[in-house]
């Protein structure tokens, strides 16, 4: 495993190495030391490597990730794994706002809590949060899945499209056009697979499913009350 120490190297140097622009192209495992909350760490990787970051990271860690497995042994700032396309990003601590925002694919796991707007505008990514999520999570979520083992803050799934939301704990309130939906076998099966992939110990039967009532899909007079 190659070691990259941010106490000695700058972000640019570390990211170029992780992106495979420098160094041995066959290196497949990295550990990053002393991240100290730096922003944009491990952003833009597009190759199947393992990256372990030993400490807390700032904004947009593993942003737009493709193929890589990135683990943060600490907390993550705003927009961790934003627009992830594939691969896996795991935060062992807590995550700030907009975790997994707009992600198209892959898996994001937050073992602790995630703040507001977790899974905002997702387009296919699967997100599993071991703790609770803040307000407006799943806002305008298009496709993909958000699983919350704890509670969800106010206005969950506001203006949601076709994404699926599963929450085990309490939901403070549902956002515009978001409703509780029936949990069928296909949902329990999807959830079981996701929980297993995320390494979370929970039973699908404990969750409730939420999604779009599809009443805001077309502009019409009757929708005014939603706003």
């Amino acid at each position: 495993m190659a070691t990259l120490d941010l106490a000695e190297l700058d972000i640019r140097t570390v990211n170029r190495r992780l992106q495979g622009r420098t160094g041995d192209p066959n290196e497949s495992a990295f550990e990053v030391l002393h991240p100290m909350g730096r922003h944009t760490l491990a952003a833009g990787i597009n190759r199947p490597i393992d990256v372990t970051i030993r400490g807390h990271v700032g904004y947009y860690c593993a942003g737009m990730n493709q193929q890589a497995r990135v683990t943060v042994e600490g907390n993550a700032g705003v927009g961790v794994a934003e627009n992830i396309m594939s691969g896996e990003v795991r935060v062992q601590g807590y995550a700030s706002q907009s975790a997994g925002a707009t992600g198209h694919g892959g898996l994001v796991v937050i073992e602790g809590d995630a703040s507001a707007r977790c899974g905002i505008s997702i387009k296919g990514v699967d997100i599993v949060v071991g703790g609770s999520v803040g307000a407006m999570s799943g806002f305008m979520a298009q496709f993909g899945t958000l699983v919350v083992l704890g509670d969800a803050g106010a206005d969950l799934g506001d203006s949601i499209y076709e994404a699926r939301l599963y929450v085990r704990g309490k939901v403070e309130s549902l956002g515009a056009d978001c409703i509780e939906k029936e949990m069928r076998d296909e949902h329990r099966q999807q959830l079981a697979e996701l929980l297993e992939r995320a390494g979370m110990d929970a039973r699908p039967e404990e969750f409730r499913r939420y999604g779009s009532a599809r009443q805001l899909y077309n502009f019409k007079v009757g929708n005014i009350g939603y706003y």
Partner: protein, 435 residues
């Protein structure tokens, strides 16, 4: 009836009455395409002071007047070099059909300038047809993929646009075909709502980090623009510079849209004329004029408009509606189809319906066939050539060997409003209102 006693109300003229009665009938704001139709102070209110005894001109047909511009010189490893200072503004595939996008790309490439993507990401066709392609990074992030970022020649972080500063995009269900829906990860046929704020940043401090992320992902190669609708232009310009932009795209209220509420189009934002001046002043105050390039859009129609924007301090202009009109938007053909939309050539703003009579703002295959991309591209190329020749002609008349050498001192204003907004003297005086 005695016609002399019949008086129309200034407050409630027939058009206002019609809108009140439409609202009373439908209970919903009116959504349309195009830009502001109201009259606002604009570049027509400025004139150039051609050379005479105190200045001498360049020989129109012999002495060179250059038009090239380089964008992205501040931080990007690969700035883009354009042969003309006129770019094609961001317009999405979805709002426009594939033929229109192809025509824009072909013409821009032939002229050595850039074209720009829009909501929904980059199509393969437009990447192929556009030699220099600017990739818009929008709040919705529809179709936003890192591979496309890397394929682009520059990245434009869209904060707002002149037709609707503070508002998000719209694409009505008629235009959400299978391909558009797939590109945007949305169900087919819905009225698509785009967010007005980016999902993972708010404010200039976050924007700085977002720009850093985009640079890291693209290895600091691409120029990064920040596009704003003209409102609090002085502050927006300064904050975009502070956030690390290579270039600022400033879109005045005359700028067009494919669909938004009329109240937005007509009543939000400021005209291009004062906005350019505010942006240039802000850049000069920071010592960044010509270091951070300024690209101005919103109501640029002629080479005179181009020259005036450059004289005020812009590095380039960007055109959207003018380019579409060169393709045939609002041309007097297929008139019965304009009538079916309740309008006529010259007044059409029905981009939002997807029923574009000339096959530009549509996803309908039959309507799209009305636009031959090769012939349309030739028309746009001719138009861009004309704009360039006009701008050169005016620059030579003012004695300039490059269009960027035009300056505010080359112009005067014909109205007090324009003098105050552009901060050039009222014609025949030394008076600049407000100074």
């Amino acid at each position: 009836m005695d016609e002399r006693k019949v008086q129309e109300s200034a407050t409630f003229p027939p058009k206002v009455i019609a809108e009140i009665q439409r609202a009373a009938s439908e209970g919903l704001y009116y959504i349309r395409g195009s830009g502001a139709k109201r009259k606002v102070p604009n570049f027509d209110d400025l004139v150039f002071l051609g050379a005479s005894v105190s200045r001498y001109p360049l020989e129109g047909y012999r002495e060179k007047c250059d038009t090239d511009v380089t964008i992205g010189t501040r931080f990007a490893k690969k700035p883009i070099h354009l042969k003309i200072p006129i770019t094609i503004a961001g317009m999405s595939f979805g709002a426009l059909g594939a033929n229109a996008k192809e025509a824009l790309g072909r013409a821009a490439t032939a002229m050595g300038t850039s074209t720009t993507t829009g909501d929904g990401g980059m199509t393969e066709e437009e990447r192929v047809s556009s030699q220099t392609l600017v990739y818009q990074y929008l709040p919705s992030r529809y179709g936003m993929e890192p591979d496309q970022l890397r394929k682009a020649d520059a990245i434009e972080v869209v904060v707002g646009q002149g037709a609707k500063p503070g508002g998000g995009g719209m694409l009505l269900g008629l235009k959400i075909t299978r391909r558009v829906a797939r590109m945007r990860s949305l169900p087919r046929g819905i009225d698509q709502r785009s967010a007005c704020r980016h999902p993972d940043w708010t404010g200039p401090d976050d924007l700085e980090i977002k720009i850093q992320e985009l640079r890291e992902i693209t290895d600091w190669e691409k120029p990064i623009y920040v596009k704003v609708g003209a409102t609090r232009t002085r502050y927006d310009t300064m904050l975009a510079v502070k956030a690390g932009a290579d270039a600022i795209v400033l879109d005045g209220m005359q700028g067009g849209t494919a669909a938004t509420q009329t109240c937005f189009i007509e009543d939000v934002g400021i005209p291009t004329l004062p906005a350019v001046r505010q942006a240039v002043e802000a850049l000069k105050e920071l010592g960044m004029h010509r270091k951070v390039q300024l690209i101005v859009s919103g109501g640029i129609r002629t080479g005179s408009d181009v020259a005036k924007a450059l004289a005020m301090g812009a590095d380039a202009v960007s055109i959207g509606m003018g380019a579409l009109m060169a393709l045939n938007c609002n041309a007097p053909i297929y008139e019965e189809d304009y009538h079916a939309l309740g309008t006529k050539p010259g007044c059409c703003h029905h981009c939002h319906t997807g029923r574009c009579p000339v096959g530009i703002t549509t996803q309908d295959p039959e309507l799209e066939r009305r636009l031959d991309p090769e012939r349309a591209a030739q028309r746009l190329q001719n138009y861009l050539t004309t704009l360039t020749l006009e701008a050169q002609t005016l620059a030579r008349a003012c004695g300039k060997s490059h269009v960027h050498n035009l300056e505010p001192e080359d112009m005067v204003a014909l109205t007090m409003e324009a003098a105050a907004m552009a901060r050039v003297p009222l014609a025949g005086t030394d008076w600049i209102p407000g100074t």
